[in-house]
Symmetry: C2
């Protein structure tokens, strides 16, 4: 490792999946010394070839870094990363910061923060939006919950991965923002799917309709990206149905907890579950249109 | 009238409402000789002061122009403009083109086109998206159905009002595209309303959540414009609930006719009707959030 850290911070990264791999590569490009750990060997080897060091477990990552980014999707996996026999809590040292960038239930965050605080470490919840494209280009939107001082220390690293960093509020507020994000993205994918399916059924060319709609109030990144996938019948993920359904359950649970109605989103969450039930959980969420075509 | 028409076309305009008034002004600015007619005296006087000529009825507009833009919202009003005792069908002359830029049922268009053809005139359905802002700035998106040759003749005039002109297909295809547009806009307004209401209820600042979401896949013109209205509690129209509800009925009727399901949009259409039922039909459609807050 010859690169010098832009602000003296040593970076750790756990979870080198579709999103994590390009995010970690951007940390290397920005000059942070990087220690990584992931379940799959392939991405670890790739990061090592690019200049990272491989750790055998989360505790070793924590011991060798000042800020640890964790990008794992399931809450159970996140708890294992924290609490496992060789988890972060065994290697966290005073002054270290753990940044949870996966999408998890907002109510879990305060408890995780308290357990890290017991070993002198801090937690930020900092989930992202922008998908694989945003991860590769370093243009993710990052929604941050937790102490402002910790965010300021971690900011140079976040800035290597995202172009918009918004401090939403206390622990869990980042996850609330992400739940809101997944609600809007899901509802908008369904809306675009319903519109393009209606256009086709009514004899209008969906590609032309999409083109026209991009010039008015219907314009959105979803119409741009997911609308194009629907027209090109390209349901390779991208954003997997199974992951969006997991996030949708967090949205519904958060709404239930705080007592608000989601009349528009509820049928979208149902549709995601139906896709999983028929074995399409690994497709891109733009596959929502296929349910409508078969209705 | 001293301005010279960019391509020798004389313009007519019927219906100088929130959208029609700035659209007609843009025709004048582009140099088209313009003859106008509208129910309200105020906008007619304003257009005359800007250089237009006032007609007493639709027939006089048709007689004095080559391309007549009609911007009236109700189907009944459009039929009166066409078929009234002094309607367009009495003044239409061979070679003239009527451009229906309001939002009407796609199935009505072919019949109107046939009746205009009987007096030697052509019809384009060319509804718009982009709202009052787009109308003022001349940046509307225009979705066109009807003969390509008629579109090419009318195009210089449309280009004075919009920045995106897409020929979707035959008579009615423009209206189908607009129905798709209103579906996406309505569903997305509801999604943004549900997200910002969820954020507030869960203790996260809706303004910060909107800011973060604008950087990712949730980004849209609706999040930008209608999201801001929701945060600023500014429900002055803009796009009126009553008009969107009228368009939503066209969406539902089109879907019924061609046999497709709209599970995400149906509750949005219901919500628009509920706003009207409680007397909020004249508010901006971003007022959808108020229903959620009171649930």
């Amino acid at each position: 490792m010859t690169a010098s850290a832009p602000n003296g911070l040593r970076a750790g990264f756990i979870g080198l999946g579709i999103m994590g791999r390009p995010m970690a590569l951007n940390l290397l490009k920005a000059g942070f010394p990087l220690i990584v750990q992931s379940r799959s060997r392939g991405p670890v080897d790739e990061l090592v070839a690019a200049g990272a060091r491989a750790a055998v477990d989360a505790a070793e990552v924590a011991a060798g870094s000042d800020v640890v980014i964790v990008m794992v999707s399931d809450t159970a996996d996140m708890e294992a990363v924290l609490d496992g026999e060789r988890g972060l809590l065994r290697g966290g040292h005073p002054g270290s910061i753990v940044v949870d960038m996966g999408t998890h239930d907002p109510t879990a965050i305060a408890g995780w923060a308290a357990r890290l605080a017991a070993v002198g470490a801090e937690l930020l919840d900092a989930p992202v939006s922008g998908g694989e494209v945003g991860a590769k280009e370093g243009t993710l939107s990052i929604m941050v919950g937790g102490p402002a001082a910790a965010l300021e220390r971690a900011r140079p690293m976040l800035a290597a991965m995202g172009s918009r960093i918004v401090h939403i509020g206390d622990h869990g507020a980042g996850m609330v923002a992400k739940a809101c994000n997944q609600l809007v993205v899901g509802s908008n994918i369904e809306a675009v799917a319903e519109a393009l399916n209606l256009a086709r059924a009514a004899g209008a060319d969906p590609a032309k309709v999409r083109d026209a709609l991009l010039g008015g109030f219907a314009a959105s990144r979803v119409l741009e990206l997911h609308g194009l996938r629907m027209i090109e019948r390209d349901f390779t993920p991208g954003g997997r149905v199974a992951l969006h359904a997991k996030d949708a359950r967090i949205v519904l649970e958060t709404a239930r907890r705080v007592g608000v109605e989601l009349p528009g989103f509820r049928p979208v969450a149902d549709a995601l579950e139906r896709l999983i039930a028929r074995g399409d959980g690994e497709l891109d969420h733009s596959a929502l249109i296929t349910l409508l075509e078969e209705a």
